[in-house]
């Protein structure tokens, strides 16, 4: 058989043929392509992480400092009664103090200039005076937070002036210029447009009437892409309809014809045509406010100290006063409950399943349950808490006790699974040795195995706690997103909020200042998570044993 079919040895030359070489080159190229895809994929993933962190840091770091004004305030005894300092006329004291720094603000502007300070300013002053009654009759210098827009103005987060035109609008105008539609007419920059005087909408009059505005817009629209808002029609000055009306009045016969009309452009575009970059005052500020702000700035009364209030104030509706103390306390209570429940229960379950449980249908059922619980969406745990803890057992809404209970149900699988892994890692030789000297199974467990597995268990527990700290949805469902303006009467059974739900609430707030606060709160949350994970890793490293 072998003599009948010898294998032809491949001629060495064949492997060196051009074709073979090309083929090999192609194959290597495919290999490099795959490698490149891998690198691209990883770069994208890491890049996205970078973008995420960077965008949070960039928006969040300004919130770690707060612009404050050192405002000298004369606590006028005429306005504050030393007997009853709590009911003084503090609002007017603050206004007077501000007026001294920025003199000459007209009466009708004083209110708006007063908005430079935080709306809480008078309460801060009151609280100060109530505590220091000797201040009455003296001039005190109180560091007051600026209100959110001015805080951001000073930090440079928002500008004094805005570009009047968006870059799209600039491009549209450029396009019009290139088409030769822009012309000087009567000494004003104008658009020379063809207008069809539609007899359907225009009545020649006299006096002429009709939808001239619509006609003007239609004629402009012919040159521009369709968009969904009116940002294109700002290009025409207000007198655009009048320009058509004038033409119709002058010659009623043009109705039904297409005529050329010169429309003067609005001011920003006129400036643009002259080569300037048109600016407008930021609509968040009034001119009076900006003037006053400049005066304050020049007097050197502003500084930006570290924003301890961010960590030590409770929530507030004013971004400049809002802090995380309530959220941190709430999270702490919830985690405390979560730990006290899930740590012992988790260890007990893990020890039972790993060391004592007989292998039968029942323990299989428990194991399947644990594995599936680990993958149940968190919002479902929220529903469970809502229906069972609040609905059935009638526990109060929004309280850390319930939050902690729900979180502990979620962290249990994590703790059980990691504890079992830690128990498995304890070598059987130790068990055998202890059993050999006559210890009972329970004694071996309590005295030998558990202590050895403890670092692993702690690591798993901390990781579980870190997960719980970041959980949001279940807490939202049981209402742990209450507005907590004071940390004074917080407790396990008092309404509370938590760090992640606070982030959610702030992210939902319309005030611009909360954008930065939200990012800052996220940084605080990530900071806690980082610390927990570092501790977990350190524990693992420190106690990692080679058996």
């Amino acid at each position: 058989m072998s003599d009948a079919q010898p294998i032809e040895p491949a001629a060495g030359a064949e492997w060196n043929s051009d074709k073979a070489r090309r083929r090999v080159r192609r194959r290597y190229a495919a290999n490099r392509r795959l490698q490149a895809y891998g690198i691209i994929a990883i770069s994208i993933a890491v890049g996205l992480l970078g973008v995420l962190v960077a965008s949070i840091v960039v928006t969040g770091y300004p919130a770690f400092v707060q612009t404050k004004i050192d405002l000298p305030i004369y606590v006028d005894p005429a306005k504050v009664d030393a007997e009853d300092p709590a009911s003084g006329k503090y609002r007017s004291l603050v206004r007077e103090a501000l007026a001294k720094v920025v003199p000459g603000v007209p009466e009708n502007q004083q209110r708006s200039v007063g908005k430079i300070l935080t709306s809480d300013a008078s309460y801060i002053l009151r609280d100060y005076v109530v505590e220091h009654s000797d201040a009455i009759g003296k001039t005190i210098t109180l560091p007051l937070a600026l209100s959110d827009p001015f805080d951001q103005l000073y930090k440079g987060v928002i500008p004094k002036e805005l570009d009047a035109l968006s870059w799209v609008q600039v491009r549209w105008f450029e396009r019009m210029t290139n088409r030769g539609v822009v012309a000087e007419h009567d000494g004003r920059t104008s658009l020379k447009l063809d207008v069809y005087i539609d007899p359907a909408t225009v009545d020649a009059g006299p006096p002429p009437s009709g939808d001239f505005d619509g006609l003007a817009r239609n004629s402009l629209q012919a040159y521009l892409p369709k968009v969904h808002d009116t940002s294109q029609f700002d290009m025409l000055a207000n007198d655009a309809p009048a320009a058509i009306e004038k033409r119709v009045a002058a010659d009623p016969a043009i109705v039904g014809k297409t005529v050329q009309v010169f429309f003067s452009v609005s001011l920003p575009y006129a400036a643009l045509a002259k080569g300037e970059i048109p600016k407008i005052t930021n609509p968040r500020f009034t001119d009076a406010q900006l003037e006053a702000f400049e005066v304050i700035e020049q007097k050197g009364l502003l500084r930006t100290p570290f924003n301890w209030e961010l960590l030590f104030n409770a929530d507030s509706r004013f971004p400049e006063r809002a802090g995380l103390a309530g959220a941190i306390t709430g999270s702490f209570y919830a985690l405390l409950i979560c730990f006290m429940l899930s740590f012992p229960i988790g260890i007990a379950t893990a020890v039972y399943l790993e060391e004592f449980a007989p292998k039968n249908r029942f323990t299989d059922l428990i194991e399947v349950n644990i594995n599936n619980l680990a993958a149940v969406p968190s919002v479902v745990f929220g529903l469970l808490g809502l229906a069972v803890f609040l609905g059935f057992f009638g526990l109060p809404r929004s309280v850390p006790l319930v939050g902690g209970m729900v979180l502990s149900l979620m962290t249990l699988p994590t703790i059980i699974i990691t504890t079992r892994a830690a128990l498995k890692a304890v070598p059987p030789s130790i068990r055998e040795a202890a059993l050999g000297v006559g210890a009972s199974k329970h004694q071996v467990m309590m005295h030998h195995v558990l202590p050895l597995a403890l670092p692993g268990i702690m690591t798993g527990t901390i990781i579980g706690m870190a997960q719980a700290l970041g959980e949001t949805a279940p807490l939202l469902l049981i209402g742990m997103n209450a507005f907590i303006p004071s940390v004074e009467n917080m407790g396990l059974l008092e309404p509370a909020t938590s760090l992640p739900t606070q982030i959610f609430s702030w992210a939902d707030s319309p005030e611009r200042g909360f954008v930065s606060r939200t990012s800052a709160a996220i940084l605080v949350l990530l900071g806690f998570l980082l610390i927990m994970n570092v501790v977990a890793i350190a524990l693992r490293q420190m106690f990692q044993r080679k058996w």
Partner: protein, 459 residues
């Protein structure tokens, strides 16, 4: 009060531990070796009998006290007060009574309420002291019975160990109880929902407008609980997420397992896992803060309008979150392919790329599929990203540039700040929750099954 009772019980248990120890030693006149069990076991045995039943009693008492007092209260109201009231109105009445009792009086409460509030106060007072009394007596009975058994022959160690085993079994049952609780609560509330809205309507209806208050009788006629658009939106967003995460995760895994230098791998792998450690609320904010505006800007540039809460933005960010799932599960699957396969392929003169695409990936496919299914289940159940970045209005569209809503978004928006379980609006959230639970459960079971099968193949 509660705290003091618990502290007292624990203190009592500690004291009885030492008490029982001393009694055990005294029973043999200090000759400890004559005891069958060491004194500390006697102590632990007695302490367990003192502490565990009484604390359990307190917990059960606490759980039942609320409902019991509520029903007593209703029962004690003058006959006819609650006639013709809906469940919600009764709840409202109860909470009014409670808040009056707590001293938060708004306006002029009716005399009936006044009276009931006083009754409520006194019952609560009685209940509290009764609880303390009963708990203490249970503890004392435990102490007397258990310490009565102390004798040199008494096998306290066995007793203590049996108690410990019992505790451990009880703890293990919590996992089952949790699952049971989830299934029952979802099922019961969902059935109440299907009482009012027909399942056909829910599963096949094309119109989802639960926020509009609907009076009874109009519910089905209005057709506002057709969940198809919600399911479709969920699928659309999950699909986008998978479209982002699968290629990135898979190619990352391929690179990390096969190409990367071990040092590079040691750095990149944890970095990718960082993505999994970031709370989802952060991703949600990232979507709102950065991704959605960037997409919008991009759309403006190319002249395509993109909604600020488009499915694309939410899905893409969810995809980022899911990358580490896919990459680490694929990584495991590829690494689990035996070395011999690689050797076989290289020995045939295959390049690395050919080995990966023609041998490793096909061999690892079941494992990768399992990972992808797990990721899909994650995507469907993910809540915060979509709550923050996706739409609330349900619309039936396959256009990723338009806003859609998802099951989880609906659950949260329907239930946030609302705990009255008597209208179809809140109940529908539980129906959605039931569907969500069943679907994710099925996906997980399937995925785990595939992965296990795959592991067995190489064992």
């Amino acid at each position: 009060m509660l705290g003091y009772v618990l502290l007292l019980l624990i203190g009592l248990a500690v004291v009885s531990y030492f008490f029982a120890r001393r009694r055990a030693i005294a029973a043999v006149q200090g000759k400890e070796h004559e005891l069958h069990s060491r004194p500390s076991y006697h102590g632990a045995y007695v302490a367990a009998w003192v502490g565990i039943p009484s604390v359990l009693l307190v917990l059960v008492w606490l759980l039942l006290q609320g409902p019991v007092i509520d029903s007593l209260l209703l029962w004690s109201l003058p006959i006819g007060t609650t006639d013709g009231m809906s469940d919600g109105q009764i709840d409202l009445l109860l909470s009014e009574i409670r808040s009056v009792a707590a001293g938060n009086i708004f306006g002029e409460p009716s005399p009936v309420v006044q009276e009931a509030a006083e009754r409520y106060q006194s019952w609560k007072f009685i209940a509290r002291w009764a609880m303390a009394g009963v708990a203490m007596s249970v503890a004392l009975v435990g102490l007397i019975l258990a310490s009565g058994r102390i004798s040199p022959e008494f096998r306290a160690r066995h007793g203590a160990e049996r108690i410990l085993s019992g505790l451990m079994i009880a703890c293990s049952l919590i996992a089952i109880l949790t699952t049971l609780g989830i299934v029952l609560s979802l099922l019961i509330e969902a059935l109440r929902f299907f009482d009012r809205v027909s399942p056909v309507e829910f599963f096949f209806g094309l119109n989802w407008e639960p926020q509009i208050p609907i009076r009874e009788g109009q519910v089905t006629a209005g057709g506002a609980f057709g969940a198809i658009p919600v399911f479709a939106g969920t699928l659309l967003i999950a699909l986008i997420a998978m479209a982002v995460a699968t290629p990135i995760g898979l190619y990352s895994a391929v690179y990390l397992t096969e190409y990367a230098h071990p040092k590079v791998r040691a750095v990149i792998k944890p970095v990718l896992e960082l993505l999994a450690g970031i709370p989802t609320v952060v991703y949600g904010f990232f979507a709102v803060l950065t991704v959605a505006p960037a997409l919008r800007q991009f759309g403006e540039t190319i002249g395509v309008p993109i909604a600020p809460n488009s499915a694309l933005a939410a899905g893409a960010v969810m995809g980022i979150m899911i990358i580490p799932f896919i990459s680490s599960l694929s990584d495991d699957a590829i690494a689990a392919v035996p070395r011999a396969m690689r050797d076989g392929s290289y020995a045939m003169g295959a390049t690395k790329g050919e080995t990966i695409t023609k041998v490793l990936l096909p061999a690892a496919l079941p494992g990768i599929m399992g990972g992808v299914l797990l990721a899909v289940s994650r995507a469907i159940g993910e809540t915060m990203i979509v709550v923050m970045a996706a739409g609330i209005i349900a619309s039936l569209t396959a256009n990723p540039l338009k806003p859609v809503t998802t099951v989880t978004v609906q659950i949260v928006t329907l239930l946030i700040g609302d705990s009255e379980f008597d209208n179809p609006k809140t109940l529908s959230a539980f129906a959605l929750g039931l569907v969500l639970f069943l679907v994710t459960l099925a996906l997980n079971v399937l995925a785990l099954h595939i992965v296990r099968k795959y592991r067995e193949q190489y064992e």
